[in-house]
């Protein structure tokens, strides 16, 4: 083994570690960071020099085997066996291409601390430098492992002889997360088949019947235990008959789509993403996924593979769509939380947030897909269970929406190689976490390799254009097992696992079958296209292997060489799961009181203090430090960019004309009542689209639930109410849902009890917009223009940002009045389309007051506002008017020349002129506030990591 240590000529990397340590209250005199390449195999000195030339920059770096003085302490960190290192893979490939026959390359990070004690270094190691799930400190000589032995031995399990208790015990020890009834049904199935199941067969059931893959809670039945409970605030639909809801998803969210029958919805809740029509040639698809559990354990790898996974959903939607944009929405714990208060095995929110931002930036940017929309929400109950939502939007020709596997088609695996990474991901995300999760499910953690996926993307889209395959799906949770079984539905399949290309030797057949290694997809193609498929994939540097054939057997039959490791009836596998009714206790209406009574005159004088507090609250504070780390302009299509408006607007360059796409989302987990929470999230998504100029008659929605344990009856009751809210509002708005995903079991068990996330409903919206040039951004633009509010303000401060800052726990939460809201949205759309509105911003967290300030930022102008005219009910105190969070409201800057036309359009809805754009850079509100915008903006920009 030979060693190259590379040192940069400046100390920027070390300074950054020093800064990170400083943030933790640790100090080091100075820190150095070196890259170490370990070269395994026999090479000549000349070849060694060539490799040095490749891996080192001769201007900026020097190499050697460095020695360090006595006051220096050195640690070297390497990746664990089996954890993929894209840089090592790529370096090895270059060397081999230049004719240098190396056995392998390993890359270490070497840290040198000067004048630092062991205790400090240990803390820095634990909190910054090392994640033991994927890395270790190098001790002695680091070996190149060619083979990583499997621990799995047991060939079959005598299931039919087990009693209920034993079945449940087996489910637990194998980590299947199947319940007693499900295990019983499986046991009966194998009795009928007259055989003992193999480990692979049990794993297959565990995966396909997991919450993650089958969504058995959302698609299951619900028994309501307290039907008489008053459903607050009201249910627009008639109370559903009986105490049993059959298929919660179908009877609420999917029902919206079914009842609305929009001709432009091309596919909803069927494919890997929802698909709507764009124009006569193209369709648009959109999917949002969660990647919560993996991101809790390894934030960078978790979010990167989250974005990687949702991109493959789009590549596997229809016959494959071209990804044109990503979205990312994070929920994390409070950043100033103390380390001592963290439960064992839980990473600090700062580390999590930094890691997940870096993961999305690395993967999304390298994929060449702009990240155009996102947000971060902070709440202490996200500390143990951070939420990471990743979305992807794609475009495809309309004639590639449908796909069909034919009998006799080849099963073709494309993309990356298979390793032991990500085993048990599907089942692991279907259970609650505790401090043992790290060690038990460490293998579920994965590192992404965006280059492999980019090559796959490029090859795939060429192959699609040439119509070389008949069907496709991604390898996500459950790996080849899930994707092959799903593709084979209605036909049958035979797989030869020994053909699967592996990252290293030593995987058991079962491990190959269920591995969740990233960057892989499965195609079904006719044998006659194989040669051309191979040529295309080869040209774009992506691997392609035939691993089986679809045959008319209605069974999943999997062999490793001669040995059959899995042979199951496909129909039973996909449809045989017993429907289990979950029990729900609906939330009881609480009288929350009017609230805000305590806010009296004395607060008025402190309006500037309060407003600045709100603007620097992490939920509101500028996310520029994150947004700039994402390439939001690649593909040249981002007409309205993040930071400028409530929604992003895209006009893909390969589409003729001015038609485009508008994308936004809403999230309101701070409202305790899950009905208000869901309704407000939906309204916010729609508001954001409409504020930018979106057409409310061409909006489709996606739902993503992140919930606590659904076995808890109250959690289940909240889920029912949230689903009802989405139905109630979407049906009136006439906006279909096209896709959704739920992540339940976001709960952490410890000695101190259970901690679950607040019920969190992300609603994403996508709209088709006729002319991307008829859209508006949020900052004010012209001196002298009148400023209006549209929408009605109510005393709705319960759990508002103001109340949370002041720690008031009373007050009604925002209600929803969908009939009035949609009328308003239609008029807003007309007024923007007709060029009357020059800027627009919605009122959401922090209400009217925060929205006003945000409109001023970066504009160079100011606003003079009069609160007296604001259309409101039951409100007197300026504080309540300024910071109520009533839904469905906007602030607009109107072109002064079109003032009267605008007022004509708005006649009949709640609206009022509330002020004007002024030349001084100040926000002036009655005689209550007169403050420099720069002062507010500095506060707003003060929070970054």
């Amino acid at each position: 083994m030979r060693r190259i240590e590379i040192k940069r000529k400046d100390k920027i990397r070390g300074e950054r570690i020093k800064q990170d340590m400083h943030d933790l209250g640790l100090s080091a005199n100075s820190v150095e960071v070196l890259d170490v390449y370990l070269l395994y195999g026999d090479i000549t000195d000349k070849q060694f020099e060539k490799i040095v030339e490749i891996v080192m920059d001769s201007v900026y770096e020097e190499w050697g085997l460095f020695e360090f003085p006595e006051n220096a302490r050195v640690i070297e960190i390497a990746l664990n066996p089996g954890v993929m290192d894209p840089v090592a893979i790529d370096s090895l490939e270059v060397a081999r291409k230049l004719g240098i026959k190396l056995d392998g390359i390993k890359i270490l990070k070497k840290y040198i601390f000067y004048d630092t004690d062991d205790k400090t270094i240990n803390l820095a190691k634990g909190r910054i430098l090392l994640n033991p799930l994927i890395q270790h400190v190098v001790k002695g000589e680091e070996k190149l492992e060619g083979k990583i032995e499997s621990k799995q031995k047991t060939p079959t399990v005598d299931l039919p002889s087990m009693n209920s208790e034993e079945l449940l015990q087996l489910s637990r020890t194998m980590g299947l997360f199947l319940n007693q009834e499900e295990m019983k049904v499986i046991s009966i199935y194998f009795s009928k088949e007259g055989k003992n199941p193999t480990i692979a067969e049990l794993e297959t059931f565990g995966i396909l019947w997991s919450e993650h893959c089958s969504h058995k809670t959302m698609r299951g039945n619900v028994k309501i235990l307290n039907l008489g409970a008053e459903r607050k605030p009201r249910t627009f639909t008639k109370v559903r008959g009986g105490s049993e809801i059959r298929n919660l998803l179908k009877s609420t969210i999917m029902k919206v789509t079914e009842e609305l029958k929009k001709p432009w919805v091309l596919s909803a809740f069927k494919d890997n993403a929802g698909i709507i029509e764009f124009n006569d040639k193209y369709a648009v698809c959109f999917k949002v996924e969660t990647h919560n559990h993996p991101s809790a354990l390894e934030p960078f790898g978790g979010s990167a593979t989250g974005i990687g996974g949702v991109i493959r959903d789009i590549l596997g939607c229809g016959l494959g769509a071209k990804p044109i944009a990503n979205t990312d929405i994070f929920c994390v714990g409070n950043l100033d939380q103390s380390y001592s208060s963290l439960l064992k095995g839980v990473l600090h929110p700062r580390r999590i947030l930094r890691g997940i931002v870096a993961g999305v930036a690395d993967y999304g940017n390298k994929m060449g897909i702009p990240t155009i929309n996102g947000s971060v929400t902070y709440h202490r109950d996200y500390t143990t269970n951070p939420l990471v939502y990743c979305g992807c939007i794609g475009m495809m020709p309309k004639n590639t929406v449908d796909k069909q596997v034919n009998n006799g088609d080849l099963v073709i695996l494309v993309g990356g190689k298979t390793g032991r990474d990500g085993i048990h991901g599907a089942t692991f995300s279907s259970g609650v976490m505790d401090e043992t999760t790290q060690s038990e499910f460490g293998s579920a953690v994965q590192i992404g390799d965006p280059l492999r996926e980019k090559n796959l993307l490029d090859a795939l889209l060429i192959a699609r254009e040439k119509a070389l395959y008949n069907s496709i799906t991604d390898c996500g949770a459950g790996g080849i097992c899930t994707s092959v079984s799903e593709l084979a539905e209605g036909i049958g399949v035979e797989v030869q696992l020994e053909n699967v290309p592996l990252k290293y030797k030593g995987l058991s057949p079962t491990e190959i079958w269920v591995s969740e290694s990233q960057e892989r997809m499965v195609l079904a193609a006719s044998g006659k296209n194989l040669k051309e498929l191979k040529r295309v994939f080869d040209e774009y540097g992506s691997e392609l292997t035939v691993i089986g054939r679809f045959v008319n057997s209605n069974r999943v039959k999997v062999r490793y060489k001669e040995k059959v490791i899995c042979d199951i009836d496909l129909k039973f596998l996909i449809h045989g799961m017993p429907k289990i009714a979950k029990k729900a206790l609906l939330p009881i209406k609480k009288d929350r009181g009017e609230g805000s009574k305590k806010i009296d005159k004395k607060f008025d004088k402190n309006l500037d203090v309060i407003l600045m507090k709100m603007l620097s609250h992490p939920d509101i504070a500028s996310k520029e430090w994150i947004v700039r780390q994402y390439d939001h302009e690649v593909q040249g299509a981002t007409v309205i960019k993040p930071l400028n408006a409530d929604a992003a607007v895209l006009k893909p360059l390969f589409i003729e004309g001015n038609k485009g796409i508008v994308v936004a989302h809403g999230l309101a987990p701070f409202y305790e009542d899950s009905y208000n929470n869901a309704a407000s999230s939906l309204d916010e998504a729609v508001r954001n689209i409409c504020a930018t100029g979106g057409d409310p008659s061409q909006i489709a929605l996606l739902d993503n639930f992140s919930w606590g344990n659904p076995e808890d009856q109250e959690n289940m009751g909240k889920l029912v109410r949230a689903c009802e809210a989405l139905y109630d509002v979407a049906i009136v708005y006439s906006m279909p849902f096209i896709s959704g995903k739920d992540s339940l079991y976001n709960e952490y068990e410890s000695k101190n009890g259970k901690q679950s996330v607040p019920p969190t409903i992300l609603v994403s919206g996508i709209g088709i917009i006729d002319d991307v040039n008829k859209t508006v951004t949020q900052n004010i633009k012209f001196l002298g223009n009148p400023v209006y509010i549209i929408g009605h303000t109510y005393p709705e401060l319960g759990n508002s940002l103001l109340h949370r800052i002041l720690q008031f726990s009373d007050g009604e939460e925002p209600d929803i009045r969908p009939e009035r809201a949609i009328e308003l949205y239609k008029r807003l759309y007309m007024s923007i389309k007709e060029g009357m509105v020059v800027s627009c911003h919605d009122c959401s967290e922090g209400g009217f007051g925060v929205a006003l300030a945000e409109m001023c930022f970066g504009s160079g102008f100011g606003l003079q506002i009069n609160l007296d005219n604001i259309p409101s009910s039951g409100l007197r105190e300026p504080f309540s008017i300024l910071f109520s969070e009533s839904n469905s409201r906007f602030i607009l800057e109107v072109d002064i020349k079109k003032k009267y036309e605008f007022e004509d359009i708005m006649t009949g809805v709640s609206y009022a002129q509330i002020g004007d754009v002024i030349s001084t850079n100040k926000l002036i509100i009655n005689n209550l506030l007169n403050i420099d915008i720069t002062k507010l903006e500095t506060k707003w920009k003060s929070k970054k990591l």
């Binding site: 840089v87 930036a361 593909q635 991307v772």
Partner: protein, 242 residues
């Protein structure tokens, strides 16, 4: 007809918009994969402009553009030198600039590394064009373009180089201060040209500003600046062909 070759390598991601921008300027554009070009390098000789577009070639493994620059030197160097003997142009944008520098086509003793803040940075910057023989920047003075990169800090040893684009502050002077200079580049360098004026590399993305609606805010100042850079190249070749 002006013929443009856009070189695709694994990880490159600005090829489509670069292609459309050149097409908008009336060029005939072909995208060719590095794998094909390595098999038959002489293909290059039938083109007038070679463009290395932005992205993360080979995942930017080792460092940005490094692996592609190794292949460039090992397999394509002779052909590129032949190509340059004719009246041809080479443009490297972002990752393409990184490749040009690391393969020595813009001289030695200059390289690109991680931004001073260690992070990827997407933002619009103001730039000043130095008066020079650079074909691409002819007639331009102060321009705006977006940057989007993680490794855009130009490091120069004590050598002569031809800075034709500099990051500038509010007073239109070259600047070291963030965020005007988004990456901490030595001498505020954003783009470099060779002595002939025909090989040009820059970190900002001209292909992201060839349409007025790509500009953040309202664009009223005539032809978008990115379009002017690309048009300069296409027009220069066209004039020589007539």
């Amino acid at each position: 007809m002006v013929k443009v070759l856009i070189l695709y390598a694994p990880g490159i991601n600005c090829n489509l918009e670069t292609k459309i921008a050149f097409q908008t300027c009336g060029a005939n554009v072909n995208e060719i994969t590095i794998r094909r070009l390595e098999q038959k390098p002489s293909k290059l000789l039938s083109y007038d402009i070679l463009v290395l577009p932005g992205g993360f070639s080979y995942g930017d493994s080792i460092s940005s553009g490094k692996i592609l620059s190794v292949y460039f030197k090992e397999f394509l160097r002779e052909t590129v030198l032949d190509f340059l003997k004719r009246n041809t142009l080479v443009l490297g944008i972002c990752n393409g600039f990184q490749v040009l520098l690391k393969s020595g086509l813009l001289g030695n003793g200059v390289t690109l590394t991680e931004n001073a803040n260690g992070r990827f940075e997407d933002r619009w910057v103001s730039l000043r064009v130095t008066d020079s023989n650079c074909v691409f920047t002819k007639g331009l003075n102060i321009i705006e373009l977006p940057v989007a990169h993680r490794e855009g800090r130009v490091i120069v040893e004590d050598v002569k180089y031809n800075r034709v684009l500099a990051y500038i502050g509010d007073n239109d002077e070259p600047i070291m201060e963030y965020p005007y200079n988004p990456n901490g580049s030595n001498n505020a360098i954003a783009g470099i040209c060779d002595n002939t004026g025909r090989i040009f590399g820059l970190m900002p993305h001209p292909e992201r500003f060839f349409l007025s609606n790509q500009y953040p805010g309202m664009w009223k100042d005539g032809i978008p600046h990115g379009m002017r850079i690309i048009k300069n190249a296409v027009d220069w070749v066209r004039e020589r062909k007539v």
